[in-house]
Amino acid sequence: MRKDTPKISSISGKEIATMSAYGYKDYTILKKVLKILGWCVVISVAIMLYLSIFVIFIYSINSNKSVNEFGEVTLKWYKEIWTHRMLRTSIINTFAVSLVATLLSTIFGTLIAIGIYSAAKKKQKWMMLLNNIPLLNADIVTGISLMLIFSLLLRIFPYIFGFPTLIIAHVYFTLPYVILNVLPKLREMDPNLIDAALDLGVKPKKAIWKVVVPAVKSGILSGVLMAFTMSFDDFVISYFTTGNGFDNLSIWIYGSIGRKDLTPAVYAFNSLVIFGAMAILLSVNAVRRKNLKRSRKS
């Protein structure tokens, strides 16, 4: 958009029609203002997302146990992560539940996605609708639903509440993420590939492992990432489905906040997780860029 309005008819020398005469309005300044305003919003959103994480980081290096007063910089809380018994147990529980649940939902989710993909259209639609329930359902309703089911099972398996129920619950709400990530990749895949493999005498199991899984591995990877993220940070569903004495980190934190005896070591652990996640994601990013460059060259 040029600011100087060009003359449209200057041949006759008398009538000079500008672009605004044709209904052109000069929005250059307005656009600039909007752009600046927009970037202000983006920056404040970034602050909103990271403010609490920044505060948690400050707590983690604060020698003063109070959350409102800063003493001096210390790293002692990072040491306490390993010595605080309750915290350590809940961290181990969290990792155990998330890792097992993510592993199970990745394997089953991929197989289920293949099953849904090869099902008839009508069945596919019905399954996708059901698949949305764990995803969109409110955590509290999901948690209560699962708790009711598990209490019915209590008569048969008296010790079910705890690790087993948490695993079932976490697999339940992470499966849809894996399925929804794998399914689009299956749709992008050449449908003849699998038929070719089967025609050439490969057993179906091997065909899945050797043909389908490599074709959809990027979908599986993002599914794993999402499933683990959701499982790791879950509070409400775990809160309703765990048994006495088996606390994951969120449940333990909730209890500690209620008792007002939250140790700063938990802030230290949280900051470590953020740094770890940042390192992992940035290195994945670096690897991806390298691969992209290589594929562009060849």
Partner: protein
């Protein structure tokens, strides 16, 4: 694909019937009965439970939930759309990095983040201590008020709004915008008549993703509201904690109806579920 792989999905169907559909039916049944915990010894059929819906405490909680989640969702739409649009327009080549920045905060524990927000809403907080700011004696923080809960919800659920909108924007064919500009409409008209309608399904998905957890959550109002603000999630939690499964189920069903309506809404706008993730 080969039809023989179909049966891989069958166990999942059974799994969903047992864990997703059956509990809903079960809760629906529970709300007509009266019993102690899950014990079926002293069970009796009753409509008494429905009186709970007329109780002022329930009504206030429901209205609170609606009010806070509508306000937070509206704020999230405004902030989320602008952010997603500028990220999309900035032509960042690296989509993965954008997603990383948005997802990273979710790795931090939700309760800790909420607690941290609650702490800095106090008049005397870590920043005033860090920068030696003198706080007036009679200064009042915003913790415990309506604003605190809305801020908490917006800060927490904003990524769930930005991600679907960004995904929807990414999927718009850039040719469409060029065509619109070539055909004589300016950028504003192009945005209003081309980009905005096409990205609407992302907005719908995002709104549902923000609205539902806002509506049913109980940790944020409890920590940021300091017990002053009771939402429907808190009441449900209380009933189940006190082993009153019948009234708890009734209230859960109320939420479930809202959720089913939302799922129908998403299905209507986004048939393939492209923006759900």
């Amino acid at each position: 694909m080969n039809k023989r792989f179909q049966k891989l999905a069958t166990p999942y169907l059974i799994w969903l019937y047992i864990l997703a559909l059956f509990p809903a039916v079960f809760m629906f049944g529970l709300m007509f009965f009266n019993m102690e915990g899950i014990d079926t010894d002293e069970i009796s059929f009753t409509f008494e439970n429905f009186k709970q819906l007329a109780e002022p405490s329930t009504r206030i909680a429901l209205l609170n939930s609606l009010k806070f989640s509508v306000l937070s969702t509206a704020l999230c739409i405004l902030l989320g759309y602008i952010t997603a649009y500028f990220l999309y327009k900035s032509h960042i080549q690296n989509k993965f990095l954008v997603l990383t920045i948005l997802i990273l905060p979710m790795w931090s524990n939700l309760l800790l983040r909420t607690q941290a927000l609650a702490n800095i809403m106090e008049p005397n907080n870590i920043f005033t201590s860090l920068f030696h700011i003198q706080v007036k004696e009679d200064a009042v923080g915003i913790a415990g008020g309506d604003l605190a809960v809305i801020i908490g919800s917006v800060f927490t659920y904003l990524p769930f709004m930005i991600l679907p909108i960004y995904t929807a924007l990414e999927k718009i064919d850039p040719m469409l915008e060029e065509a619109s500009l070539d055909l004589g409409s300016n950028e504003f008209t192009t945005f209003r008549r081309v980009t905005l309608p096409l990205s609407l399904k992302g907005v719908v998905t995002g709104s549902v993703m923000v609205f539902l957890p806002c509506m049913s959550g109980f940790a944020i109002p409890e920590i940021l509201g300091k017990g002053n603000i009771v939402m429907i999630g808190n009441i449900i939690e209380q009933f189940f904690k006190n082993m009153n499964y019948n009234i708890g189920s009734l209230l859960a069903i109320v939420i479930l109806i809202l959720i089913l309506a939302s799922i129908a809404l998403v299905n209507k706008f986004d048939k393939d579920g492209e923006t759900v993730l």
